[in-house]
């Protein structure tokens, strides 16, 4: 069943979109990641213009993260104070990101920007995840549990210290604000929630209590992607309502199934699979950047200057 997307101006198979939404949602339910970093490139691969893919995916992440925040809220695993500091940074970052995006769209370089960001971040996060899960697997097989110990880093020496009760932290507000800002910028440019960067940063850089990390990051992501959606809608008119609804129906259902299946799966082995998937997307994007194109010319709507 093909469906014509009014903003993307392409006709795509609705079942493929539902399947993509469901599949990526399932993964995010298992791993507690938003899945935007997989969905946006996949949308681009099936022919959705990058500008529309990024803006519409931000809208879909609002749905999946809200669904996630609700369950974390009930379990009281959201540090609202920390979330608000991250959010303040996130909103600033999102505003910067959307403007960079609009400027590069004018120059015809959005595709390059999006692809480069993906190659760099997916490559880095995928490799780290792969190495970590290999190590964890080795430790598990040796019988010892993987333990992390909190270290005192430069992060703890900065001014503007605040008390974050649920995170069990008394640190400066600057690092969380900075992390939020970076993630907000990426959210706007890459059409991702940024959980795949924020979660490791919260654990390793800030040393937050592990129980509140995912809930708090989802809390921030929900608001930042909401703001991003709004800004893309206003500045670029690239949020495709039809595409968003199909993706989020697939996505929210997939997420809920993933959340229920997750406890019965071997997480470490799955994590390696996820790492491989992330690296595969990264290589595909990187490959497209460096191979000689079949068509040396590209068209875009004129009259913009």
């Amino acid at each position: 069943m093909n469906i014509y997307l009014p903003i993307a101006e392409v006709s795509v198979n609705a079942w493929v979109l539902l399947g993509l939404g469901g599949g990526v949602g399932f993964l995010s339910g298992i791993f507690g990641v938003g899945g935007g970093f997989l969905m946006t490139p996949l949308l681009i691969f099936i022919g959705i213009p990058p500008a529309v893919a990024v803006a519409t995916e931000a809208n879909q992440i609002v749905a999946s993260s809200f669904s996630g925040v609700l369950s974390h809220w009930r379990r009281r695993t959201v540090d609202v104070k920390m979330g608000l500091v991250l959010l303040a940074g996130g909103l600033v970052g999102s505003a910067i990101g959307v403007r960079i995006f609009a400027a590069l769209r004018e120059l015809g370089q959005v595709d390059l920007l999006v692809a480069l960001c993906y190659v760099v971040f997916l490559g880095a996060v995928g490799s780290l995840m792969f190495i970590e899960s290999l190590n964890a697997l080795r430790k598990v097989s040796r019988g010892g549990a993987a333990r992390t110990r909190r270290k005192h880093t430069w992060v703890h020496g900065l001014p503007l210290r605040m008390k974050f009760t649920e995170s069990k932290l008394y640190i400066s507000a600057i690092p969380p604000f900075g992390i939020g800002m970076l993630v907000g910028t990426l959210a706007a440019i890459m059409g991702v929630g940024g959980g795949f960067i924020m979660v490791p940063a919260m654990i390793y850089l800030l040393g937050m209590a592990a129980t509140v990390v995912v809930g708090t990051s989802l809390f921030q992501i929900m608001f930042v992607t909401g703001a991003t959606t709004l800004m893309h809608a206003i500045l670029n008119q690239t949020v495709d309502g039809v595409l968003a609804v199909i993706l989020l129906v697939g996505g929210v259902v997939g997420t809920q199934i993933g959340v229920r299946v997750a406890p019965r799966l071997k997480a470490e082995q799955l994590r390696i699979l996820l790492a491989v998937l992330v690296l595969a997307v990264c290589f595909k994007l990187g490959f497209d950047l460096v191979t000689t194109p079949d068509e040396f010319f590209a068209l875009s709507n004129g009259g913009g200057h």
Binding site: P6, G108, L116, L230, E295, F296
Partner: protein
């Protein structure tokens, strides 16, 4: 020149050219649709064009040729050439083509150049080259034709430009019919269909019909909302997402508790 002026010029030309020959062949034609709705179910369409030639008395046994042309709205388009730097391919600066048809199909009963004289092609402005306008190429452009050719090549690959020699069938010497594919990626606007009847490489008569291509239904509603009320559209998008997220969470909590 507007379409009206073009047509007027064409008709004047027709009178001037045809008068000495006393050729009064006429064409009547019809289209399977004169409006196309781009709704969410739109996956492309096919235009069926048929008609009849009424030859001038004394020319009933002559061989006629027919050109059927469908042109979409003329729009500016930016063409960029990919460049390579540090091993990475990226878009170079834009060359703005001032005007190019968003859709162009030329179905003919034979090879275009074999059935029409250069004079009449020029006079009636039939070929694609009459519609692509690049007034001022930037100074750094070495080969402007390269950009125009690229436009034609890419749009042809997207199914937007087509030259279909031999696609017009002429039956019983006077009945004509042809089919023109409209792809799913059509642009909104007024399309013009022109049907030319030719004898001895000269245009004898032309029939013109406008086809209205419009977004329709849900797609139209969403598109115009996004364009005209971007802030409200953005807020509604977010609300829809929140409701969907909440519904899914509530539904699964009720029916499949963890």
């Amino acid at each position: 020149m507007t379409w009206g002026m073009r047509l007027l010029a064409g008709l004047l030309g027709l009178v001037v050219l045809a008068a000495p020959l006393r050729a009064d062949d006429q064409v009547v034609a019809s289209l399977s649709q004169t409006s196309v709705s781009l709704d969410t179910q739109f996956t492309g369409s096919e235009l069926f064009i048929y008609g009849a030639i009424k030859p001038d008395p004394g020319h009933e046994d002559d061989k006629f040729d027919v050109i059927v042309e469908v042109i979409g709205p003329l729009k500016p388009v930016d063409v960029r050439k990919k460049q390579r730097n540090l091993g990475i391919w990226y878009n170079g600066p834009a060359v703005e083509i001032d005007k190019a048809p968003s859709f162009f199909a030329l179905a003919t009963s034979g090879e275009f150049r074999d059935i029409i004289s250069y004079t009449d092609d020029l006079l009636f402005e039939i070929g694609l080259e009459h519609f692509i306008q690049l007034i001022d190429a930037p100074e750094w452009v070495e080969d402007r034709d390269e950009y125009i050719e690229a436009l034609g090549r890419i749009r042809e690959a997207e199914g937007l430009y087509a030259e279909l020699p031999g696609a017009v069938e002429i039956k019983e010497k006077i009945l004509l019919e042809t089919r023109i594919k409209l792809p799913a990626n059509l642009t909104e606007g007024d399309y013009t269909a022109r049907i030319f009847v030719l004898r001895d490489k000269k245009v004898q008569d032309v029939y013109t019909q406008t086809i209205e291509v419009r977004r329709a239904g849900l797609g139209r509603f969403i598109y115009s909302a996004a364009q005209d009320y971007p802030a409200i559209y953005g807020i509604v998008s977010i609300l829809v997402a929140l409701i969907a997220g909440w519904l899914a969470s509530a539904f699964f909590r009720t029916f499949f508790p963890t």
